[in-house]
């Protein structure tokens, strides 16, 4: 999250208070901005995953280099070659022998399944990414609710104490009132 900056060298309390209120308003509109949640989500992964077992930059990697975790699959992928000119010749031969190959097996179901799997992989990564964000958001909201709960608990305790004081004032009326004085000033 960006730090709270006081720009001017001279202090202007009213300006500082305006900045504070603006920041509070922003937070009230949404507990955290999308960017802040994303930052926290990435930091959380870093904190909970063991770097030796798992790449802590998981989401950044997924987003930056999809070829490292998924394959691009099309109908022609099975017949391609990466060997430059020789590869181009090989690709031509494979194309020419394709009808003969089909006498031995049918590659179409496999091509179709792998194409679908590639799409599913992309979908799962997208889902995983969004789940991580939602989980982070929910964690923050739960934390906020816990804090509010503690605050309400404090208020209830304060009210209970006040009630006790008022009761004792009634009970001890006419006796020693030194501890129950609801003084003016």
């Amino acid at each position: 999250m960006p730090a709270f900056e006081i720009g001017s060298k001279d202090v202007d309390v009213e300006e500082i208070m305006k900045a504070i209120r603006k920041r509070i308003d922003e937070k009230k509109q949404r507990l955290y901005t999308d960017q802040e949640i994303q930052e926290i989500a990435e930091r959380r992964l870093d904190a909970v995953l063991d770097a030796h077992d798992f790449n802590s930059d998981l989401i950044a990697d997924f987003r930056a280099q999809p070829e490292r975790w998924n394959f691009a699959f099309e109908a022609e992928t099975l017949y391609r070659s990466s060997r430059g000119f020789v590869g181009a010749v090989l690709r031509g031969l494979r194309g020419a022998l394709r009808p003969v190959q089909k006498l031995f097996w049918n590659p179409n179901p496999m091509i179709s399944a792998l194409s679908r799997q590639s799409e599913l992989n992309r979908y799962y990564v997208h889902l995983l990414h969004n789940l991580a964000l939602e989980l982070t958001r929910l964690n923050l909201e739960v934390q906020d609710l816990k804090n509010r709960n503690l605050q309400l608990q404090g208020r209830v305790e304060l009210l209970a104490r006040r009630e006790k004081t008022l009761e004792s004032m009634v009970v001890f009326r006419g006796e020693d009132e030194s501890g129950a004085a609801p003084e003016g000033r």
Binding site: A3, F4, I6, K9, D10, V11, D12, V13, E14, I16, M17, I20, R21, R23, I24, K27, K28, N147, L150, Q151, G154, R155, L158, R161, R162, T165, L166, M169, R173, G174, E177, S178, A180, A181, P182, E183, G184, R185
Partner: protein, 411 residues
């Protein structure tokens, strides 16, 4: 010049704002005039029990004449009268005043309330009337109590009133507006206090000046010594004053402990002052009780910032002292005076909600440069407005016409 200071309580260990204010001014002016303090034998503002002997004594070079309180406060009866005059919520919550109800209060009820509030010392009032020619001027502190309300009219032509009026609504009672019209001049603590009284009393409010008060500042402050004596390490926020419901302390505890829980901050809250309410048992709170002046200055120099949660302040000497010690302050925005002082000095932040408290405190805690700059602003503000010589000059300017009038009468 012969001056009499009239105040409800007086003593070195009395931490009440108006009483401390009175002592500071009396001791300062004692260098320039013959000063006598006229007060009661009480030291506890809840009971007004007579604790000091009657008669003349001396404190820090100032003569003190004490009169017995003839009847202690009946707390239950006082609460009932408060509820009748100001509405039921005022019984337990200071400042929850039904203004219209207070304005319409029957004079007899208001009289009974004033006597019950105390300190009921008719002997003191009789003495004022009898000794009116023995003093060139009478300086009354705190408008709301019996000695001022009944004593000032007896010497009105020689009276200076320091109302120390807080925005708690009590001044709406019909017995007070005549009091604010009676003295020769009023010494206001702040522009906000003057405006508040002008709204309540109207244009017939007695004239005067905004003065305030400056403290006796120390020759040196020992932050390390304070930490060592009390075993406090790490940064802390400081509160100085009575730990009391009227001062907003329960709310401060709630806000501060929530701040610690939510932010994980290790900041602690050190409390200097007598406590009249239970303090939560939490590692974040460090209650040290009432301490001598030097201890307070040492605590200020060791602190990260000063906090004043009270809604009802006519000045807050403790806040001014924090500024002298170059500490930024965090105050309750619902107190017009404190908020106004922060804006004028640029040396303090204010909060009206938990969110503002959290953001303002987090800012002060994390930004040492800002703290330093605000601290310097606070010191400059203090020196310009509340330094001893500034206060003395203003008081003497207000007292001079009274002295001249007294001299003419004597001649």
């Amino acid at each position: 010049m012969r001056l009499a200071f009239v105040v409800q309580r007086y003593g070195a260990s009395i931490a009440g704002g108006a009483e401390y204010h009175c002592r500071l001014v009396a001791e300062r002016l004692a260098r320039r005039a013959r000063v006598e303090v006229i007060t009661t034998c009480a030291s506890d503002y809840l009971t007004w029990a007579n604790c000091e002997p009657e008669g003349l004594s001396e404190l820090n070079g100032v003569a003190v004449r004490r009169f017995a309180v003839e009847r202690p406060r009946d707390a239950v009866r006082f609460a009932e009268l408060t509820a009748r005059l100001f509405g039921e919520p005022a019984r337990t919550e200071p400042g929850r005043v039904d203004v219209e109800r207070a304005r319409r209060a029957a004079p007899a009820d208001a009289e009974r309330w004033l006597e019950e509030q105390g300190p009921f010392a008719p002997g003191l009032v009789r003495h004022l009337a009898a000794s009116r020619r023995d003093h060139d001027a009478f300086v009354f502190f705190s408008y709301r109590y019996y000695p001022t309300c009944r004593g000032l009219p007896a010497v009105a032509e020689r009276a200076l009133l320091v109302p120390t009026a807080e925005d708690d609504g009590a001044y709406h009672l019909p017995l007070y507006p005549p009091l604010f019209r009676a003295p020769r001049a009023i010494v206001f603590n702040s522009v906000e206090e003057r405006e508040m009284l002008r709204r309540a009393v109207g244009p017939s409010l007695a004239g005067g000046d905004v003065v305030g008060v400056g403290s006796e500042v120390p020759a040196r402050m020992d932050a390390e010594g304070f930490r060592r004596r009390h075993g406090i390490d790490g940064p802390f926020l400081l509160y100085v004053g009575r730990v009391d419901l009227n001062k907003g302390c329960p709310q401060l505890f709630e806000l501060f402990l929530r701040y610690r829980r939510e932010t994980g901050s290790r900041l602690r809250l050190v409390l200097l002052g007598q406590s009249v309410l239970p303090i939560p048992n939490d590692a974040g709170l460090v209650p040290l009780g009432f301490k001598p002046d030097q201890e307070k200055w040492d605590a200020l120099s060791a602190s990260l910032a000063f906090v004043m949660p009270s809604r009802f302040e006519s000045l807050s000497i403790a806040t001014l002292e924090a500024w002298w010690a170059e500490r930024p302050v965090l105050v309750n925005a619902k107190c017009d005076v404190l908020r106004g002082q922060c804006k004028r000095s640029n040396a303090g932040l204010y909060y009206a909600s938990y969110e503002e408290f959290r953001e303002a405190l987090a800012l002060l805690e994390s930004n040492a440069d800002l703290r330093e700059r605000m601290g310097r602003k606070g010191r400059a503000y203090y020196e310009a407005n509340y330094a001893g010589n500034v206060i003395e000059t203003k008081y003497l300017a207000l007292l001079e016409p009274l002295r001249a009038a007294s001299a003419r009468l004597t001649a």
